[in-house]
Subunit: 204 residues, 2 copies
């Protein structure tokens, strides 16, 4: 992504104004989150060069959005999580675990996570990612609450807290990966011999 | 940054837990924002491989933080903006403009922006960056409010709205840069012949 500028088009600002979906933010390099995008957000989404979308609702994806995904060659990963799922359901854990596997797979990056409002389901998935990244729990909660605002749910926070990070690591081991170290303590999950750039048509 | 994992140290989780400063978030690839970091946040900040910090308060930087910056070879850019500056002061505009110039200069990346709480001064600077990126104003405001919460200030929103984007573009032209195009409409501000990696000591 980086700094996307339109300095050439100083004259026709109105045409070029980009509209991110509500609750849009960058989670990590090449990982984004938002509420449900509508057609007004498509020009903005195009600037992200998405390779995939993780969609966390059971409702079918709208035809208009599917059409946009097809035109941009974006893959849709759907995980049918109900809006108000009981935290104790093991199905929820399994769904979030499956979504996490897709999320941390750099072959799917850049990736956008969204549910309906980008608060609860998206917040839970991002929270579990942060645990995996070893963030302290209070910071994980703070981030969840920044997006959920007054709609913050204790059961979501409990879900994140209880989410089994050890079994998560086990899952990680099951994926083919290599470490890419910048320093003594940091590792970036990378695939060997994997072309991380989205193939793009170039015309001269 | 990317996915920072500590899967090797599954046994000593407590040692490895990372504490981001309150209100921490990634703004763009290699641009971060937060409240004032304290020593408890230094291990987390280390994972960002910062090259510089943009500090938006008039108060002198604490010796403890300066020591951390020296040890990590991080450059400090301080812009003395008062906590409750009158929006009409031209000094504020000038300070934000100067900070923006530093912010969009990739030679300073990865960069962390912070003030005291990461709400108002940081929010104004990020808001001006978003305008430069051609985000629609309502999305810019939404992002500001996500971090400011109930402390959201109308005068900050007015400042962002009134901030002269045309003169900003003029400033951009004054910096040596080249365009790096991914698609038809996107440009990334890059310096020619610039080594974008932070020089690092490697020992074998």
């Amino acid at each position: 992504m980086g700094l996307i500028l339109e300095v050439e088009n100083g004259d026709d600002d109105n045409d070029a104004v980009l509209v991110p979906p509500p609750n849009f933010a960058m989670v990590e390099d090449c990982i984004f989150r938002s509420s449900f995008p509508t057609s007004s957000n498509f020009p903005f989404l195009q600037t992200l060069n998405l390779r995939s979308i993780i969609y966390l609702c059971p409702e079918p994806y709208p035809e208009e959005n599917l059409e946009f995904l097809r035109s941009q060659n974006i893959r849709l990963f759907q995980f049918a999580i109900e809006g108000k799922t009981d935290v104790s359901t093991p199905i929820l854990k399994d769904s979030v675990m499956d979504a996490l596997k897709v999320l941390i797979d750099v072959r799917n990056h850049p990736v956008l996570i969204h549910c309906k409002r980008g608060k609860h389901r998206t917040g839970c998935l991002v929270g579990c990612l942060r645990k995996l990244q070893n963030w302290c729990l209070s910071s994980v909660f703070e981030e969840y609450q920044r997006f959920a605002g007054v709609k913050s749910r204790t059961m979501d926070l409990t879900f994140i807290e209880m989410f089994d990070i050890l079994s998560l690591s086990q899952c990680l081991y099951s994926i083919i990966y290599q470490y890419h170290g910048y320093g003594s303590k940091k590792r970036r999950l990378l695939y060997k011999d994997e072309n991380l750039q989205k193939p793009r048509l170039t015309s001269f």
